[in-house]
Amino acid sequence: MTAMVPTAVGLAIAAVLFCTGLVGVLVRRNIIIILLSIEMMFNACGLAFVFAGSYWLQPDGQVMYFFILTVAAAEVSVGLSLVLQMYRQFGSLDVNTVNRMRG
């Protein structure tokens, strides 16, 4: 027996999770936490897709989540190696120090 959830509520939950991730990106200065917040946003999107897939009773929702997940994995790996580079070049994880592209 699976749950019977109104679509508005389910998607609203995904929206709230997404916005929480957004707040995290905007507020935190530690690059790792920012990446983490981005992961949260990915997750929220995936939730929305899966929810839609279970509404329409099609596998496409889960397939989408599969792809989102893979992209997230690739992105995280490259992102974290860039974080390592940043740490080595600038000596800090503060995202405000990486502002040479200003002006």
């Binding site: 749950a3 109104p6 929480t20 905007l26 899966v50 974290l80 390592l84 040479r100």
Partner: protein
């Protein structure tokens, strides 16, 4: 079962909020893992067992572990928590919270206005997902594997020593 969905939803949201408000990076990570697990439960309850397993294995089990590795490598722990606290003064929250609240209001409003109906509550078997992946979505699967290859190479190259960045000041 609907109750389980709502409870895990509440847990996911609470864990998410806690993630972004902790000063200690490791705490944030752990709270996020908690949020992910709650999401996995939500998936399972919705009738998507395959992706529920995927969340736990890959999302929580690989990606988060990678984060933990990096945190450990860079030695981010309680010492840096003090510094993080100074960055997390209430004044920094006003703008982002404002924007986000507006966004939530708009999204929820449009959802409530336009969306109607309920999920049926039936399981979508992994078999169907597999057939879909190897059927219509085959090309996408191949492309995503190439993407992973690219990610692999990129991570290998960027993770080496200190790279020289050309140009700049």
């Amino acid at each position: 079962m609907t109750v389980v969905f709502y409870i895990s939803a509440a847990v996911a949201i609470a864990a998410a909020i806690l993630t972004i408000t902790r000063a200690n990076a490791v705490h944030s990570l752990l709270y996020f893992i908690c949020s992910l697990l709650a999401t996995a439960v939500m998936f399972f309850v919705l009738g998507a067992p395959f992706v529920a397993a995927l969340v736990v294995i890959i999302n929580a089990g690989a990606i988060m572990v990678l984060f933990v590795f990096v945190v450990m490598m860079l030695n981010i722990g309680p010492q840096t928590a003090e510094r993080e606290k100074t960055w997390l003064r209430p004044r920094a929250w006003i703008g982002p919270v404002l924007i986000t609240v507006l966004l939530i209001i708009e999204l929820v409003y449009s959802l409530a206005y336009y969306q109607a109906g309920e999920t049926i509550g039936e399981v979508v078997e992994p078999v169907d997902v597999g057939i879909a992946l190897f059927g219509p979505y085959l090309l996408a699967v191949e492309l995503v594997s190439m993407l992973l290859l690219a990610g692999l190479l990129g991570a290998h190259h960027l993770g080496r020593g200190v790279l020289k960045f050309g140009g700049g000041r």
